[in-house]
Amino acid sequence: MWLYLVPTLAINVVIILIPALLTVALAFFQWDGISAPVFIGLGNFAALWSDGPFWTALQNNLIWTALFLTVPIGMGLLAASLLLVVPRRGSTLFQVVYFLPVIIATAITARVWQGMIYSPVTGVFGYLQKLGLPIVNPLSQTSTALFGVATVDLWHWWGFLCVIFFAALRQVPQEQIEAARIEGASFWQMMRYVLLPGIRPTIMLMMIMTVIWSFLVFDFVYILTQGGPAFSSEVLSTLAYRKAFYDLNVGQAAATALVISLFGLVATFFYIRIQSRESV
C-alpha cells in the first residue's frame, strides 16, 4: 500500500515541498539570486510593511477577490438556471458558447482585448471614439485599470462557472423539483428553496477556490498593464515577480509570496473544515 503512494509522494516532495521550504527560508534572507544569501531575520517583512506598493497590491487583491466572489458567480448561476429552462439542444449550444473563452490561451485573450477592443488606435474603443463617444481605454487610467483587467478575466472565466453550476443543477434530484412544481412553486421559489440549496456544496467549493485563485492572479495583469499605470493595477504576484526578476531582491519576493500563500492557506482551512463537516 505504501509503495502505491511513492510516485505521487516523490513528485510532491521534489516539485512542491522542497521549493516551498526554500521559499519560506529565503523570506528571511537577503539574496540577489547570484551571490551568497545573507540572513536578515524579519528584515524583508519590515521592508514590505513600509512599502507603499505592497499595500496597494494587497488592497487590489482584496478588491479582485470581492469582485470575483460576486460578479462571475452571480452571472454563472443566472445563466445556468436559464439553461435549465431552455430545451436540451439549445442549452448545449449555449454551453459551448459560454465555455469557449475558457479554452483560449490567456495570453491570446489578453492581447485580443488589448489590441482589438481597448486600443484607441486599433480597437473597438478607438472606433467608438472616432464616432464621438467619450470613451477611453480603461487600462490607461489609474482609477479603472484594475477593473479593465478584471473585465477581461471575467469574460474568460464566468463561462466555466456557468458550466460547472449547470452540471450541478442537473444533479438535483428530479423528485424534489417535481414535488415543488406540483406545489405550485414559482421559478424564483424553486431557485431559492430547491435548486440553490441542492448545489450549495458546489457553490462553496467554487467560492473558496475563487479566494485562492484571486490571490494567485498574475497572467492577465502582467500582460495587460504590468501593474501600471503608477501601481494602480499591481497585485501581490506581479509585485513578487518584479522584486525577484527586476529588482534582484529574491528575499522580499519570497516574503511577498508567503503573504499570498497565507491567504490561500486560510481559504484551504475553511474548505477542509466544511468538507469534513459535510462528510460526517
Binding site: D32, G33, I34, S35, A36, P53, Q114, Y118, S119, P120, V121, T122, N137, L139, S140, T142, Q226, G227, G228, P229, A230, F231, R242, F245, Y246, D247, L248, N249
Partner: protein, 443 residues
C-alpha cells in the same frame, strides 16, 4: 509484438544510442567545443548569426567548434541559475553591467585583462566601455552593443512647415507648442508593450537638462538625487506631460505604434533610442516621408548634444569554462571590422559594437545612410567625452525599477517630484551600500 521482442528491440536501441554517443564524443575530442547561449532572435536573425558568425568562425578556427543555443526571453534567469551551479556556457551573455557586477562579485566570471592586452581589445574598443566592464579594477565584460537616445523627426513634415530641428530646450518647447496648435502630437511615445519606456524620457532629461556632470556625481554618491538640477529635470518632464506633449494615448500605444505616427505625420518627433532605426524602413518609405535623427536638445549650461550611453548586453567568459581561450577568440571575432559591417548590413540597431574607429567598416549599400552616419557621429562624440548615462545601464536594479513606476506616479499626480526623488535617492543609497552600482567610467 511479444514481450521478448520488445526487450530485444529496446536493447538494440540502447546499443545504437551508445554507439552514436561514442562517435560524437570522438568527434568532439578533435574539436574543442565553445558554447554560447543567446537570447530571443527572429528566425532570419538566427540565420544571420549562423552564417556570419558560427560558420566563418569555425572555418577560420579548425580546432574549435562554436555553437549558439537560442534560449529565448528567459535567458537571463536560466543563465543565473546555470552560473550558480557552474554549468553555464563558455561565452556568458548577460543582460547588462548590473548583472556583471553581481556575477563577478560571486566569482563566476574570468578576468579578461590578459586577453584584452593580448588580442588588442584595449586599442580597438572605446575606452569608456572598457571601464564599464570593470569590477574592483579588473575587466570582466565587453558590451555587445551600445545605444543612445536622441530625437527622430519627420524631415518632410519639418520642411513643409519651415521647422528646424531644435538645439535648446526653449526651441524644443516652442516647436512642441507649434505642433500642438496644428493638432499634432509633439512626442510620439507609448509604453503599452514595455512600461520601462518611461525611463527613456527620464534618462533624456537627467542628461540633457541636469547634465551628465551632475549625473556622474550622483552615481558616485557625491550629490544626492534630490539635488536641485534633478528637481528641475523631473519638473520639466512632468510639465511636458501636463502640457500634453506625450499625447492622449501614451499608456495605450506600443512603442512601435507610436514611432509609426512620426512617419505618418500624426506626431512631430520621437524622443527615443537608436534601436528604433530598425522601424525606419518599415514605416517611412511607405508614407513618402524622409526620416531625420539629431541629438536631444540641451538646457542652458549643458553642451549640445549629449548622447546618453546605454548597453543592451555584455560578453564575459565563465570561470568554469573548459575552453576560455576559444571563448576569447569568439569575442575577438565579434569585435572585428568585418563582423561589424556584415552584421549591420542585415541587422541594424542590435550589433552596434563599441569599436573606436568605424572608418574602415563597410556597411552594405542598401542600408539607410542616416544609420551609418549616426553611428559614426556617435562614436566620435563618445571619443570626445560628450556622453551621458542611461538609467537602465548605470542605475542598480531596484532603483531603476522604482524609477519606472515612480515617474508614472509623478505624471499622474500621485506624488510630487520631491517625493519621487527622495524615494529614488533612498533606494539608490541602499543599493550603493550593498555594492550593486555598476562601474561608472571617469569623465
Amino acid at each position: 509484438m511479444g514481450y521478448r521482442a520488445k526487450i530485444a528491440l529496446a536493447g538494440a536501441a540502447l546499443v545504437a544510442l551508445g554507439a552514436s554517443a561514442s562517435v560524437t564524443a570522438a568527434m568532439a575530442e578533435e574539436k574543442k567545443p565553445i558554447t554560447w547561449w543567446y537570447e530571443t532572435a527572429a528566425p532570419e536573425n538566427q540565420e544571420a548569426l549562423q552564417k556570419l558568425l558560427v560558420e566563418p568562425f569555425n572555418a577560420a578556427h579548425p580546432g574549435e567548434s562554436l555553437s549558439i543555443d537560442f534560449r529565448g526571453a528567459e535567458l537571463d534567469k536560466q543563465l543565473r541559475i546555470a552560473m550558480l551551479s557552474g554549468s553555464g556556457p563558455d561565452v556568458v551573455y548577460t543582460a547588462g553591467p548590473s548583472y556583471v557586477a553581481s556575477m563577478a562579485q560571486a566569482g563566476q566570471l574570468l578576468p579578461l585583462d590578459d586577453y584584452a592586452a593580448k588580442l588588442g581589445w584595449n586599442d580597438r574598443v572605446l575606452p569608456v566601455f572598457l571601464e564599464l566592464g570593470k569590477y574592483n579594477g579588473k575587466l570582466y565584460a565587453l558590451p555587445k552593443t551600445y545605444e543612445t537616445l536622441g530625437l527622430f523627426y519627420n524631415k518632410t513634415l519639418f520642411e513643409k512647415n519651415g521647422w528646424q530641428p531644435p538645439k535648446t530646450i526653449a526651441e524644443l518647447e516652442t516647436l512642441a507648442d507649434a505642433m500642438k496648435a496644428k493638432g499634432l502630437v509633439p512626442f510620439a511615445a507609448g509604453n503599452a508593450d514595455w512600461r520601462p519606456s518611461n525611463e527613456h524620457y527620464v534618462s533624456i532629461v537627467l542628461n540633457s537638462i541636469a547634465g551628465p556632470e551632475n549625473v556622474y556625481k550622483a552615481l558616485n554618491g557625491e550629490i544626492p538625487w534630490t539635488a536641485e538640477p534633478f528637481v528641475k529635470a523631473i519638473d520639466t518632464l512632468n510639465n511636458w506631460w501636463q502640457k500634453g506633449y506625450f499625447g492622449p494615448n501614451y499608456f495605450s500605444l506600443t512603442g512601435e505604434q507610436a514611432f509609426a505616427q512620426v512617419a505618418t505625420g500624426q506626431a512631430g518627433m520621437a524622443p527615443t533610442g537608436t534601436w528604433n532605426f530598425q522601424n525606419v524602413p518599415r514605416y517611412f518609405p511607405q508614407n513618402n516621408a524622409v526620416p531625420g535623427f539629431v541629438g536631444f536638445p540641451s538646457a542652458e549650461g549643458v553642451p549640445y548634444p549629449i548622447y546618453a550611453l546605454g548597453i543592451g548586453s555584455t560578453f564575459s567568459i565563465a570561470n568554469s569554462s573548459q575552453n576560455p581561450d576559444g571563448a576569447a577568440e569568439v569575442i575577438d571575432y565579434v569585435f572585428s571590422d568585418k563582423f561589424y559591417g556584415d552584421m549591420n548590413t542585415v541587422w541594424q540597431g542590435e550589433w552596434n559594437t563599441p569599436l573606436k574607429d568605424l572608418s574602415k567598416v563597410q556597411i552594405g549599400a542598401d542600408v539607410l545612410p542616416l544609420y551609418g552616419e549616426t553611428m559614426k557621429n556617435l562614436a566620435a562624440s563618445v571619443s570626445d567625452g560628450q556622453y551621458g548615462y542611461t538609467t537602465w545601464t548605470f542605475l542598480p536594479p531596484a532603483t531603476d525599477t522604482y524609477l519606472v513606476s515612480g515617474m508614472e506616479e509623478v505624471w499622474l499626480g500621485k506624488i510630487t517630484t520631491a517625493q519621487f526623488l527622495e524615494k529614488l535617492d533612498a533606494t539608490f543609497k541602499e543599493e550603493k551600500a550593498a555594492g550593486k552600482v555598476p562601474a561608472v567610467p571617469k569623465r
